[in-house]
């Protein structure tokens, strides 16, 4: 095995004061099968070497053997918390390639679902953030509210996490008659619950002490390492695809791309909290105005893309997600590449966490909001 060899090489080179600790592959704070080879001096982290691939499932290879609509099903399994955004990316890419114009209704539904997914993902991130810092109660607060969104998802498309809702040309089913009512109820309730989050965690002295002034990521580093999403925006990297290359109904809504310049852990935390308000704001603008019409355009039974290369960027909850499809005109893609936000974000971890304590490493990793299948694909 290559792994064993590697360790021997590494231990030859390590300094006498240092020792190696394997954080993972099974570790409570990696939230998945991720292994960080951490070099420590006492409690001080000198270097972090991420080792990935424990759950590499070869999605890109699998995509080459299946038809285009089937590709969408696999994207659910990558970043399972941003499943809908991933679906949408592939759907948009196919629609772009085929020059299909989807009905307005679809755009609205997709955008609302996007923002609901983003909220659900940020809620789970918030739960886990608190849990990583030792405040277990946050976990239950976050899950309590996330449950409402998942219920809405379930009612809409039958699934709670792996939605598989976007299909080329539209969405799979029309929204449930209750959809608007329930979303509005949820928004009303969640607007009341969000301040509770701040009371429980944000305002806590220990929490602020733990997260302030650690894990700095400068703007230059954020761009160079391709750190996107809230993590990048915390460093002032304006990378919101929703703003820069708007898709679906995003050109139609008013919203702000939240940016901060400090670039430390607490800033990234605040930014995600702000984004939740922003997501609520977006949904509020759309939910009452969903136009009537078809929920999908009629597509051919076998989707065949014209020859060429197509790239589609969307903004998921963790950053920029990209789909790169190379087509040779057949019914299945020649090559598919998913540019996942987690992959780029993870490798900036060393930059951010080296020189801090182990406890800080956990906090920093938490604000990167990693989803391991998203990295391993």
């Amino acid at each position: 095995m290559s792994e064993t060899k590697e360790i021997i090489i590494t231990s030859d080179k390590i300094h006498t004061d240092e020792y190696l600790v394997n954080m993972g592959p099974q570790h409570p704070s990696t939230h998945g099968v991720l292994r960080l080879l951490v070099r420590l001096e006492g409690e001080m982290v000198h270097n972090i070497q991420p080792h990935v691939g424990y759950i590499h499932s070869g999605i890109e290879k699998m995509c080459e053997a299946i038809s285009y609509p089937q590709v969408i099903h696999l994207t659910d399994r990558m970043d399972y918390l941003s499943a809908h955004m991933n679906n949408e990316a592939v759907a948009l890419c196919i629609e772009n390639a085929l020059q299909v114009e989807v009905p307005e209704r679809v755009k609205y539904i997709r955008t609302i679902m996007d923002e609901l997914s983003r909220l659900a993902s940020h809620q789970l991130w918030w739960c886990v953030m608190g849990m990583d810092l030792g405040a277990l109660t946050t976990f239950f607060y976050g899950l309590r509210d996330r449950e409402h969104i998942l219920d809405i998802f379930e009612e809409t498309c039958g699934a709670r996490m792996t939605l598989n809702y976007s299909v080329p040309g539209g969405v799979m089913f029309d929204i449930h008659p209750n959809f608007q009512k329930r979303v509005k109820e949820f928004i009303k309730e969640f607007r009341k619950k969000l301040p509770e989050y701040d009371q429980l965690l944000t305002g806590n002295v220990i929490f602020q002490e733990r997260t302030n002034d650690i894990g700095y990521l400068s703007l230059e580093d954020a761009i160079a390492w391709g750190v996107t999403g809230p993590s990048g925006r915390g460093s002032g990297f304006s990378c919101d695809v929703r703003k820069h290359q708007p898709y679906s109904a995003y050109p139609l809504v008013q919203f702000e791309e939240k940016l901060a310049t400090k670039g430390d852990t607490f800033t990234r935390y605040r930014l995600r909290m702000e984004e939740m308000y922003e997501s609520l704001h977006i949904i509020e603008q759309l939910i009452d105005n969903i136009p009537e019409g078809d929920y999908a355009v009629k597509m051919k039974g076998v989707v065949k893309l014209p020859e060429g290369e197509f790239y589609q960027r969307v903004e998921t909850a963790r950053g920029e997600f990209g789909v790169y499809i190379v087509s040779d005109g057949k019914k299945n893609p020649y090559r598919v590449k998913f540019r996942s936000p987690g992959f780029s974000n993870l490798f900036a971890l060393n930059k951010m966490a080296a020189g801090h304590k182990i406890a800080d490493l956990v906090a920093i990793m938490s604000t990167l909001d990693l989803v391991i299948p998203d990295i391993d694909r």
Partner: protein, 187 residues
């Protein structure tokens, strides 16, 4: 044999056994733990003598303080699998002789000393008296030694801090460390 005797022999036996084990064990942390047992047994004997204050001091200072520090330093420096090297026979013989001589001297002194009951009435060693003696500055007072020891300990503490304070080669939180994380990640 009364219960007191039984307890005494139990404590004395454990002191003897664990003392020997302390110096013969080849694993350093085990030695420290045996030493802990010796000190705790000593505290037990103090408790038997109704000398509670000294017993508690023994527990706090030796068991809770010194042994913890010893264990702490072992934790920082050695590994579970490490074993002490057996000393050469020459050293072993020499140490045995030195120990025997010391023991003989002590036993001889004990045997030659005529233990006579003190004429003055026994002072009960309760906290009240101990406290009074500690802060009184009269003939039997310990105020001066107490203060002198305080200064000594303070000096020792300052010295320890000076010794322990390394040069700050690692930056504190917020700054990047001296080691360049990019270059070192290839290891």
């Amino acid at each position: 044999m009364t219960l007191n005797d039984i307890m005494f022999y139990l404590f004395a036996g454990s002191i003897l056994t664990f003392s020997v084990l302390t110096v013969t064990s080849r694993r350093i942390l085990r030695s420290a733990v045996y030493l802990l047992f010796v000190l705790v047994s000593t505290a037990g004997i103090y408790f038997m003598l109704n000398y509670n204050f000294l017993a508690a001091v023994q527990l706090t200072v030796y068991a809770g303080g010194i042994i913890v520090l010893i264990i702490f330093s072992i934790l920082l420096t050695s590994h579970v699998s490490e074993k002490a090297v057996v000393a050469p026979v020459r050293q072993q013989i020499f140490s045995a002789l030195a120990t025997a001589a010391g023991a003989a001297l002590t036993i001889l002194t004990f045997l030659q000393y005529a233990f006579t009951p003190s004429a003055s009435p026994a002072v009960e060693a309760n906290v009240h008296n101990v406290g009074l003696a500690l802060v009184s500055y009269g003939r039997d007072g310990f105020a001066l030694p107490f203060e002198v020891i305080s200064i000594l300990l303070l000096a020792a503490m300052v010295g320890a801090i000076v010794l322990a304070k390394k040069e700050k080669h690692l930056a504190t939180a917020g700054n990047q460390p001296k080691i360049n994380p990019d270059n070192s990640s290839k290891s």
